[in-house]
């Protein structure tokens, strides 16, 4: 059985006046049917750009330079816009970060939902409207008829994100890319949204890529986790493995900087230094300047290797007790 999505050596670069930004530089991963993959990294690590690359929504000065994006076996990297338009919102849907900005402020909710159906299917408006109403009900929105007639500004942030999720599920896509969908929300609403998204994914068998900077959120949600740093996936594996036994020093740093109850009183681990300047990355491993385990070998580029069932880009995997 082929995976729903296979990304192979994806490179998305931005050709700016100041130089070339290699926002995504050789990223490979795959998402199986019904699988939830967490894509984690700091802001600027290229995780959102990876998501947008899959949908073909990279605007100049950026473009996909090389690599393949195989969706159900078909390479859609740099596919014609006509083809991508048929996939977008239909087979591959996306949920954005800020629900206050994603819905058009001057169009009613029903307009924005119905157009998403009509863009891909020849059904009458009545049917489309009914389906929109059902979709709103599925994401836990009370009195959906009323909400359909509302404008976005009449709904709270959490409600709007539920609408966005409902839109994403409208055409029963095979893959949903969720770009930090809970970052802009309150913690309690965050949990509800994650719950709804997880439930729907399991019910419909949809695959999902959940992009987040918050390892704690992804840990409770994803089947597999990929950690990105400076445009590359540095560690990738099953969630439990990555969380319980991180191998890459960066993953260890990320995990160490999450406050949690069982570490009360212990000093929070801190990754030294600043997020890298994407215009002037150090040669070799981009994380080396901030890494506690860096050796002279790190000035070379680490290749992807399989270590303990994981794909890793590191010369010095921290096999055990790195935190203590």
């Amino acid at each position: 059985m082929t995976a729903t999505l296979e990304v192979d050596g994806l490179c998305t670069h931005f050709f700016t006046h100041a130089g070339i930004v290699k926002a995504v530089d050789g990223v490979s991963f795959s998402v199986g049917k019904g699988e939830i993959m967490g894509l984690v990294g700091e802001s600027g690590s290229g995780k959102s750009i990876t998501g947008f690359s899959i949908l073909g929504l990279i605007d100049p000065p950026g473009r996909i330079v090389s690599g393949a994006i195989r969706f159900q076996g078909e390479n859609i990297a740099n596919a014609l816009d006509q083809r991508l338009q048929k996939l977008r919102g239909n087979r591959i849907a996306m949920i954005f970060q800020d629900p206050m900005m994603t819905l058009n402020p001057v169009l009613r909710i029903d307009t924005q939902m119905i157009e998403a159906i009509l863009a891909h299917e020849k059904v009458d408006r009545r049917t489309a409207w009914e389906r929109s109403r059902e979709a709103l009900g599925l994401v836990g929105i009370p009195s959906p008829e009323e909400r359909l007639h509302a404008y976005p500004h009449q709904l709270s942030g959490g409600m709007r994100q539920r609408v966005a999720i409902a839109i994403a599920f409208l055409n029963k896509p095979d893959l949903i890319i969720a770009d930090e969908p809970t970052t802009a929300l309150d913690v309690t609403i965050q949990a509800q949204i994650i719950y709804e998204a997880q439930k729907l994914t399991r019910q419909t068998g949809t695959s999902m890529i959940w992009i987040s900077h918050d390892l704690a959120v992804v840990a409770g949600l994803a089947d597999r986790i990929a950690v990105m740093y400076a445009g590359r996936i540095v560690e990738q594996g099953m969630t439990d493995d990555v969380i319980d036994r991180p191998l890459h020093p960066y993953t260890i740093g990320l995990l160490g900087s999450v406050p949690s109850a069982n570490k009360r009183g212990a000093r929070l681990f801190q990754i030294e230094g600043m997020a890298p300047n994407m215009l002037a990355l150090p040669p070799g491993c981009a994380f080396a300047p901030r890494c506690f385990a860096a050796t002279p070998a790190c000035s070379q580029e680490p290749a992807v290797q399989d270590v303990a069932g994981r794909q890793l880009r590191c010369f010095n995997p921290q096999v055990q007790e790195a935190l203590s």
């Binding site: 929504l57 919102g89 996306m94 954005f96 998403a116 404008y151």
Partner: protein, 325 residues
């Protein structure tokens, strides 16, 4: 909505009252009232008679009251030159001015919005850059000078279009218009273009800025992620958003089109209110001046009111705030 309109109507009434005070005192205190209200060649007895007839020997507040009473009955005095009621003369000349102003508004929208849309969608293309440079010129060039150039080019050198007058008019419904005859259209084109030039530039800039802002918004990217066609994104998602500021500003600018028509009408000898005003100023026909000023105040107040209402109808965010209040 009704509360909103009533509140705005009251505000408008206050503004009109205030402006009537300013115009009245402007004419009667700063200038010499007798000189203004009696034709310059009147003799002593006539002046004395007029003074007592107009009540100029009474206290100023009483005079203002009389002025208001007259104004309320549509009596703003008689023109010295024509001997007819000033208000009636203004109203007679109004259709020509409105025709010119509407033609200019039409040109501004019909040319400005598509050009602005193009410049906003393809900001780096050569055509866009040319359009933007031209719009800067359109802002800087004095209207009257452009009018002269249009006459030199199209009327004198090329001889394509007539340079003066209004052309044939026909009666449509209850007013005369030149927009329904070929000759009339030929006559209206140059003055309308001249009057529209500033507003075309404005429409280009507004539309371009709006498009560029909207295209970068998440809601456009989200619409693309939904698989919506580019055509629908531009014509529905983007246009609906930018139409709010464009319609509002262009509506407000309609008032200034009527004001600016003074210049254009003088150059192209267009028989509207503006031409009437300039002639009145030059011939010291003060009642016409007062009547024109009061009509313009009324015009602006009404336009501002209408635009506010349209704005609140267009923008759902404003509309609902008002209902809640």
């Amino acid at each position: 909505m009704t509360v909103f309109i009533i509140r705005r109507l009251l505000q408008a009434a206050v503004v009109v009252m205030l402006m009537s005070v300013i115009v009245f005192f402007g004419v009667n205190v700063i200038g010499d009232p007798v000189y203004m209200l009696v034709s310059p060649d009147a003799d002593q007895a006539e002046i004395a008679a007029t003074i007592s007839r107009l009540g100029l020997d009474r206290p100023i507040w009483e005079q203002y009251w009389l002025f208001l009473k007259g104004a309320a009955q549509g009596d703003l005095g008689n023109s010295f030159i024509f001997g007819e009621p000033a208000l009636q003369l203004i109203l007679q000349h109004m259709p020509a001015t409105l025709e010119l102003a509407f033609s200019a508004l039409f040109l501004s929208i019909a040319l400005g919005i598509p050009l602005g849309l193009y410049a906003g969608l393809y900001p780096d293309s050569r055509i866009s850059k040319t359009v933007m440079a031209a719009s800067i010129l359109g802002f800087s060039l004095p209207t009257f000078w452009v009018g002269l150039m249009l006459i030199i080019l199209f009327a004198v050198e090329l001889g394509w279009l007539p340079s003066t007058g209004r052309g044939d008019t026909v009666k449509v419904l209850w007013f005369h218009t030149s927009l329904a005859t070929w000759d009339g259209l030929q006559h209206v084109f140059l003055p309308a273009l001249n009057l529209a030039l500033l507003k075309i530039s404005l429409a280009i800039r507004l539309t371009r800025a709006g498009v560029r802002e909207a295209m970068g918004q998440d809601y456009v990217k989200f619409a693309r992620a939904k698989g919506i066609s580019t055509r629908r994104i531009i014509s529905v998602h983007v246009m609906k958003n930018i139409m709010i500021p464009v319609v509002t500003v262009m509506g407000l600018e309609f008032g200034s089109l009527i004001g600016f028509s003074v210049v254009t009408e003088s150059i192209f000898a267009w028989p509207g209110m503006g031409k009437l005003l300039i002639d009145a100023i030059l011939q010291l026909d003060r009642p016409i001046v007062v009547a024109y000023l009061m009509i313009m105040v009324l015009f602006f107040v009404i336009i501002n009111l209408l635009v506010d209402i349209i704005y609140s109808l267009l923008d759902p965010r404003v509309r609902l705030q008002d209902q809640g209040a």
